[in-house]
Amino acid sequence: ETAVFQTPNYHVTQVGNEVSFNCKQTLGHDTMYWYKQDSKKLLKIMFSYNNKQLIVNETVPRRFSPQSSDKAHLNLRIKSVEPEDSAVYLCASSLDWGASQNTLYFGAGTRLSVL
């Protein structure tokens, strides 16, 4: 049963455009994440939010900016996309921050293609 919802499923755009992706979780979790799955299927953490506060910001270009209005929503904006941004962006949530036994619950992903 899906509990982490991402929109859109796919997005095709041109270099230099701005894009926004949305994520909502209905699990009542405190913590949400954005991951990037690249063409080699490597999963890299981009951002971690706990109770709508940014906790972790990995080495991500400044054109990426996450936004959280409440703990159930975490959006991602990319200002001026570049070809290397083509990837699947996966949103995930976990019960809370810091407990190593927490399972990650993923959305289905947003596939971005930059032409």
Binding site: I45, W97, S100, T103
Partner: protein, 111 residues
């Protein structure tokens, strides 16, 4: 820093043969959790199984894994592969406020 190594990028098996996907890790954290996530095509990645207990077998949906802290390993096994097992499998380590994923192993089961 922490790391997870999955040595096989692609494993191709004939249906009915046993599955073993390798996972080793490095961490300074004394009590890490190890996970296997499975990502089927056009679906969300989801948890397959997890463990933090040394030398205890963990099972789910026909798959099993045992955490061996002495060798820093958490290999995923199944006695008999099915066509429906074809997917991308990620091993992951969690400890000290951080999740680290391996590079993933694509399992392809053929008839």
């Amino acid at each position: 820093g922490d790391s997870v190594t999955q040595t096989e990028g692609l494993v191709t098996l004939t249906e009915g043969l046993p599955v073993m996907l390798n996972c080793t890790y490095q961490t300074i954290y004394s009590n890490p959790f190890l996970f296997w996530y499975v990502h089927y095509l056009n679906e969300s990645p989801r948890l397959l199984l997890k463990s933090s207990t040394d030398n205890k077998r963990t099972e789910h949906q026909g798959f099993h894994a045992t955490l061996h802290k002495s060798s820093s390993s958490f290999h995923l096994q199944k006695s008999s592969a099915q066509l429906s097992d074809s997917a991308l499998y990620y091993c992951a380590l969690a400890g000290n406020y951080k999740y680290v994923f391996g590079a993933g192993t694509r399992l392809k089961v053929i008839a």
